[in-house]
Subunit: 324 residues, 2 copies
Amino acid sequence: MSRVTIKSIANDLGISHMTVSRALSNSPKVQKETRDAIQKRARELGYVKSAVAMVMRGEAPRIVGLLLPNIVNEFYARFANDMATTCELHSQQLIIHLTNDDVAIEQQALDRLQEVQATSVVMVPAPRSSDQGAPIAGSMRIIELIRQGGDTDKNPAILVEDGPAIRAAVLHLAQEGHKDIAYIGANRELSSGRTRLEAFLDGAKQAGLEIPQSMIQTGPPSFAMGRARAKGIIDAGQATAILCGGFEISNGALSAVIEKTTASERTISFIGYGDPSFYAWIDSGVSTIQVPVTELAHCAVEMITSSDQQQSRRASFSARLVIR
Amino acid sequence: MSRVTIKSIANDLGISHMTVSRALSNSPKVQKETRDAIQKRARELGYVKSAVAMVMRGEAPRIVGLLLPNIVNEFYARFANDMATTCELHSQQLIIHLTNDDVAIEQQALDRLQEVQATSVVMVPAPRSSDQGAPIAGSMRIIELIRQGGDTDKNPAILVEDGPAIRAAVLHLAQEGHKDIAYIGANRELSSGRTRLEAFLDGAKQAGLEIPQSMIQTGPPSFAMGRARAKGIIDAGQATAILCGGFEISNGALSAVIEKTTASERTISFIGYGDPSFYAWIDSGVSTIQVPVTELAHCAVEMITSSDQQQSRRASFSARLVIR
DNA sequence: TTGAAAGCGCTAACAT
DNA sequence: ATGTTAGCGCTTTCAA
C-alpha cells in the first residue's frame, strides 16, 4: 500500500487534486459539502501531508540538529532532554548526532544535516588542533554550546561563565586547609579548557598557593581521561584535594576517587564539575560547580526560533559553587 | 546566498544540468576532463546533494525515529546513545521525540515522523487505558521496546525477560530474613507492569511470604511516583525491604530511601531496576536488576537495517540480578 | 467554485 | 558524450 497523496484522494473522489489541496487547507473557495467530504475521506485514508514536498517547494524544514559528544553524561542528557521537549512545543523535529568529540564525525553529521536542509544546529564543538579548519556548515545557522570551535568565533554561542565559581572552589579548599590541590581539566585545544585552567591558577594565586606542574592534569575531555588522571594523582599521594574542570572528566575522576578511597583509608576532598542528580546521593553529597542546564537549553531554543537575524550573538550563564 | 544545486552549477559552467548530475555520481559516460572540472567546481561552491529531492524521487529517507519517555534516565540515555552511534555507522539520521509517557504527545510525534517519511520507529509505548486505540503509524515499521503497546501486539518488539531475576530478588531478600518486602512498580496499563508484578507475587509465594495489599504499590512509571510511594512505605514503617519494577520508579524510590535513611537511623534493603552507573557508587553499591541495554540497542538497529520483511517479530533479553 | 500549468532538485529513460 | 523530458507531492498563479 503506497502513500496517500492529494492526487490519490482526488482520483478516489473523481475530482481535481487542486480541490483536494484547497479543501485540506480549509480554503473558503470550496463548497462546504465537498470540503467536508474530502476531509473525511482524507482522514479515512490516513492522509498525512508530505513535509518533503513542502520543503521542496521552499518551505523551511522544521528540523533542528543537535551535536553532542554523547548523551550519557547527565549534563548533555538534560540539555538534550530540555531541547527535545521545547522543540516538541514548537513542532520542530530534533535530529541528534553524537560526535564522541571527533572532528571527522562532527563534519559528517553537519553534512547530513545540510542534506536534509536543517535550518539550525546547536553543537558542542569537538576539540580541534590549530591546523584543522573550522567546521563547514553551509548556510545553516549554528549555535555553539559551552565551547567555542575553531578560531572563527563568529558563530552565536551559549557559554558558561565559570571563572568565579572555579576561583571560589579553590579558595574554599584553601580555607579548609588544603595546600596541595590538584586540577584535572581539558587541554588547550578547547576554549573552555583554557579559561577554566586559567581560573584555577588565578584562584590558587589568590589563595597564596604554589601549584607544581604535576598537580595540573590536562587532556581530552573524556570520562577515561578523568579517571586515569585521578588515579595517578591519588597514587602519587601528594594531593589532598581534586578540582575538576569538565563534565565527563568529573564523573571519571569521581569514580576513581570513590574506588580508591573505599579501598584504603585515605580521604580526598573532591569538587566536581556539573551537577548530575546522583552527586547529591553519594556519601553525604559531592560538592560541585553547578551549571544551569535548563537555562542553557531554553536559551538555545529561543535563539533558534527567534527569526531575528541580528540577534545577540553570545549568551552567558553563571556557574555556581555548591558545597555539600 | 541561495542553495547550490546541479542547475546552478550547470549554469555557472554553461552546460546541461544532466552532465553535472552524471559527473557528480561519477558516471563513466562523461569526459574525465569535464567530470573532474565539474567535481572541482561543485566542491568550491559547497554543493551538497538535496536529500529532500532524493526522497521526492522515491528513495527511502535515511531517517529513523526514536520515541522515549525521556532521555535523562540513564537507561533511556544509554539506549539512545547506542542507537545514535550505530545509526551514525549506517549513515542514518536519528530523530528523537520525548513522549513523557503521554499518549497524545506520542501520537503527535508519530505524525511528525510520518510527515518526513521516516521508515522505521523504535518506541517505548506510553501507558494507554483500554479505551484508547493503538497508535497510528501509517506505513512506518515500528518496533516496540520494553513494553507492548495497545492490545495489538502485532508489531515487532524487543522485550526484557525479567521474571526470573525478579523472583530471584524476592528469594534473595527472603533468605536475608526479610518478611515484609514492599514492591513498587507500574500499574496494569503497562504490559511490563503486569508481568513484573506477577513475577514479584510469584517469588513471594515461592518464599512462603504473605504480602498484604498495602505493600504493593503501583502507578504510572515515573520518578515522582516511585519517590512518593517509597516515602509512604518508609513512613508506614512496616517494610524492611523495597523492590522496584521500573527504571524511573527505581531512581525515585532510591532518592527517597537515601534521604529517609540518612535522616533517621533506620535502614531498608533496596533492590532497584536498571543499572545506572552511579548505583555502584552509592554507599557500598545498590543491588539491582540489570538490563542489558547495549544488546537491546544493537538488536533495535539490526531490526531496522535488516531489510528482511519476515524477520523475527520478537526478541527477548534476560535481566540479571546483581547483588552489591 | 473548480481546474490546469509550472516549478522546487534530482535522475531514469529517451533523444541527439 | 551530452542534452531534453518527465515526474515524485505540493501550492501559487493564472484560466475557465
